[in-house]
Amino acid sequence: MALAGNANVGKSALFNQLTGLNQIIGNWPGKTVERAEGTLHFAGYRINILDLPGIYSLSTFSMEEIVARDYIAIERPDVIVNVVDASALERNLYFTLQLLELEAPIVMALNQVDYAARKGVKIQTEELSRSLGIPIVETVAISGTGVNELLSTVVEVAEGKIPLNPLKVRYGREVEENIERLERTVKEMLPGICQQYPARWIAIKLLERDDNIAEKVRAEENGATLLALADVIIEQIEQLHGEPSPVVMASERYAIASSIARNVTNVVTPPQVTLADKLSSVTTHKIVGYPILVGVVALMFTVVFVAGDFLIGLLESLFEETLIPAITGILAQALSETAVELINKGLLSGVVAGVTVALPYIVPFYIVLALLEDSGYLPRAAFLMDHFLHKIGLHGKAFIPLLLGYGCSVPACVGCRVMETDRERFLAGFVLVLIPCAARTVVILGLVGRYVGIHAALALYLFDLVLVFVLGRLAFKVFPGEPVGLIMEMPPYRMPSSKNVLKKSWGRTKEFIYVAFPIIIVGSLTLEFLRLSGLIWPIVNSMAPLLTGWLGLPLLTGVPIIFGILRKELTLILLTELAGTVELSRVLSPIQMIVFALVAMIYVPCVATIGALAREFGWKRAVAVSILDVLLALFLGGVAYRFLLLLA
């Protein structure tokens, strides 16, 4: 069973209701599109449920749309549940009509009927069911109302007990004639492709200038002839209507959706301005909106850091006082001392670092993010930030991954998926690894902030923002392609449900662990091995000219910088250890501290981030970004050193 529908209709709430904790969140093979699956036992059946991405159309604008339509057409789930928002019926029906055109077995879940009722809208469900020819169940996913009925209906459809008589979507007369003509030709000439997709659907897609289908048709025998015919028909349609063919098709489909929706919608009370509407006005207000945004972000960070610090304290004592001694004790009885040390410092400390340093910040971050998402605030933030983000070739939605970058670059890289195109995603990813994450903040504040002064620390932050801006603009010029404008739905404000928030956060935390931990552990083991075998010293010595000559840093900073590749906090921690003192001002001059922090801030992203970059954008790009950042850090570090010397 697959859940399909627009974004913001309560699809994931329904998914959570159905699957509870039996969820697996991963990716579609080979693609950066989230795939959420779960199972449920009902009426003696084991139902596999797949939550398809929230999409508005089955065209080819985004990977999400292609993944969804290929899944529906080729893998043929037994039943598709089309989750529809009752308060936005016309727009949702546009998608329903597209599902019907794919000739899939559909049951509609008419969701958020409670919200629609509050807005004074009542849908005649019986009539709608008749018009569309599919069974409809009213649901309120957040509370679980109607879910059982939905499941029984789904089972009955799968068993064949409810005959489906789906509406055959008919367009305006001459468009319809053209579709049928092309459909006949498809059936005649390309019987092979008709095994995968319905012939009529192929005809419609070709007339919509769908690139993906055109490619598939071209690859078949007789494909080129068919495409030529399609082109002729497209030309006719465009001449007649004066609009591009895809627009004609969309218009007609909307006309059908509109008339169906109007037929079954009763406005019981006239729409009133609700609290949610007023809140929306205030939070996007041209003057008041921005301070509110700053306030929300500040609150977010405060919560995350306070919760994070608290968790770190808890976990550190847990590990250091209880777990690690216990584990090393057990191991010491079986293995040699060096082996134990290797495992201790390498494996265990890697795990400890991941757990005590990364997770305490990430988990609260995810929770706060889910709250902001579910409440509907994020689109408002994107609305306010859109104009500024245009300067670096991104649009409002990029605000989210960039904001995430202040916590940790790993979820921020995944967060780049909100951008629609590859180019936008990579641009956002490239920019966000330069943003100081929590780890780098620890270094800046702990070193420069503490010993040089808060002004210097703030100056570093500011410099970083400038750097992000400048590099963003450069990257924008360098990467070919058209920047995409913002087209984003503004969903109404809603109370987030705690169940949903927790489930989402847990799912994402799990994913973070799967991505980051293996890499951290491997990196940690490698470094520990280098240290124990003594190989670390030749490496550090080879860095000497760069380190002392160009950057003006003492040689002992070499090890922290290398280990910083594993986790950025280690730069500060190891520096303190190696210096043998907590009074770092005895070891480094203020200028050296600033240079050190600057380099730590910009040079190679931590291994977990490189892993995330590789997963989202491919290894080539991940390596390219890492190398670029190292070179940039070295360059800026050296320049800063000389510049600061001049100032002093």
């Binding site: 508005y56 159309s57 065209s59 604008f61 308060s87 936005a88 019926l89 016309e90 727009r91 546009y94 200038r209 465009e238 001449q239 209507h241 004066g242 609009e243 591009p244 895809p246 627009v247 969309a250 218009s251 909307y254 509109s258 006005s281 996007t284 041209k286 689109p379 994107a382 609305f383 306010l384 859109d386 104009h387 245009h390 649009h395 409002g396 058209e482 995409v484 404008g485 913002l486 087209i487 984003m488 739905e489 503004m490 969903p491 109404p492």
Partner: protein, 197 residues
């Protein structure tokens, strides 16, 4: 001149153009002399030359309002551009629209009903005002996405709010609220419907 796909009496036309029948007749005689209008069987119709002139007029109008805007910088860039001779190259080189987008544009304005002067950018609508979408002039992907989100020709759009300094505008269309970036919204052309309420 206006093009509506129906025949009208001279008196009707005069009322709509807000002039006297006498003035209208004189203008039409002039148009006939110029070869823009022809007379046959007592009815006057646009010639091909007339149609082309209309097309150019519309193109120029949209170019001046959309490509350059009405402010000072807009006028300045327009003056610097000079007279455009080859429109297609101009659209491609100076405004970044590829050939297929320009084709779509030409087709759109050819089939436009009513005055091109009645159309305006979505961005020029004030908060609370309504408009009906006429067409969208931009890259094919953008036009298509707008259509899929509900902004098809003939659809009514209400401006809910606009952000400052060329920020995005929020519109209500088909019962849903959409935020459109300024660049996106400026590519959507509407005719105003009258104050919202």
């Amino acid at each position: 001149m206006e093009v509506q796909n129906r025949t009208a009496k001279l008196s009707e036309m005069a009322t709509e153009l807000n002039c006297s029948v006498g003035e209208l007749t004189r203008a039409l005689e002039f148009a006939i002399d110029e070869g823009l209008v022809e007379r046959s069987d007592g009815t006057l119709t646009l010639t091909d030359k007339g149609r082309m002139q209309l097309q150019e007029h519309r193109e120029r109008y949209i170019h001046d309002r959309h490509g350059h805007g009405l402010g000072f910088t807009g006028r300045l860039t327009k003056i610097l551009e000079g007279t455009v001779r080859d429109w297609r190259t101009h659209w491609r080189a100076k405004h970044g629209f590829d050939d297929s987008s320009v084709d779509d544009f030409y087709r759109g304005i050819r089939n436009l009903e009513g005055h091109v002067e009645d159309t305006q950018n979505l961005t020029s609508l004030q908060q609370g005002e309504k408009g009906v979408v006429v067409f969208a002039f931009g890259g094919r992907g953008l036009v298509r996405r707008l259509a899929e989100m509900g902004l098809t020709p003939g659809t009514e759009v209400t401006v809910v709010r606009s952000a400052p300094l060329r920020g995005p505008i929020e519109v209500s269309v088909r019962g849903v609220f959409l935020a459109l970036g300024y660049g996106v919204a400026s590519k959507v052309f509407v005719t105003r419907v009258g104050r919202g309420g």
